[in-house]
Symmetry: C2
Amino acid sequence: MLLDSDDSGIEKSINEVTGRWGGSFYVRRITNWKNEIKKWKASGGKVLHLTMYGINFPDLINDIVTENLLIVVGAEKVPPEIYELADWNVGVGNQPHSEVAALAIVLDRLAASSGIDPLKTQFGGGEVEIVPKSRGKEVREK
Amino acid sequence: MLLDSDDSGIEKSINEVTGRWGGSFYVRRITNWKNEIKKWKASGGKVLHLTMYGINFPDLINDIVTENLLIVVGAEKVPPEIYELADWNVGVGNQPHSEVAALAIVLDRLAASSGIDPLKTQFGGGEVEIVPKSRGKEVREK
């Protein structure tokens, strides 16, 4: 995740979670989102911007599933320019919604279209892992 | 949604969104979550509690898809009792995650198992609707 924010606490706490629980997820803070998008596109990647005003995701998924995607999520009101820079402006439904939920559904459905279930992914590295249980909580050291 | 919170602002703002954008979603504040769960179960409903310590959702979905479900999501640390009251304690993956994302994926996959795409749902009522666009924003009065 590229994070355009001055808040170093977010970066730190998410990277701590990854250190403890494993996986390849990381956060890198950036200061020039426009430049990052341009670099991505110059390297052949495509940009998908999530906005409830865009084309409905189910109508587009088959066109984008094989692309190398940078997904743009605005936490607050986004600069209008992103609508032009994006290859696709995509709505996860065209109703007000949580951006977190929208991103989750996009990632889940893209993975499913590639025959992968992200919920079954084994995370490499880390210090601990959960032992799934019907009742209660169990965490074991790796 | 049943909301166990003193914050009347959440109820108000969500119900305002529904009034403007349509759909049957509603928020009702409750003061005794345990009682609500017991009433639900007494009426024949089942209770699914989302927790990263639970059985992984893909391993359970076929058992629960036909049930009448109340889904419990804890915003903060949940009382241990909920693990006993729930018919299923279910992890959306067994890694730390957003509760909002977890709920979104559960609802999306349950709908898909019933042959429904919730992103294509037409919302009845309301005052406005989005006209999906490749670029920019368009909202029309209903």
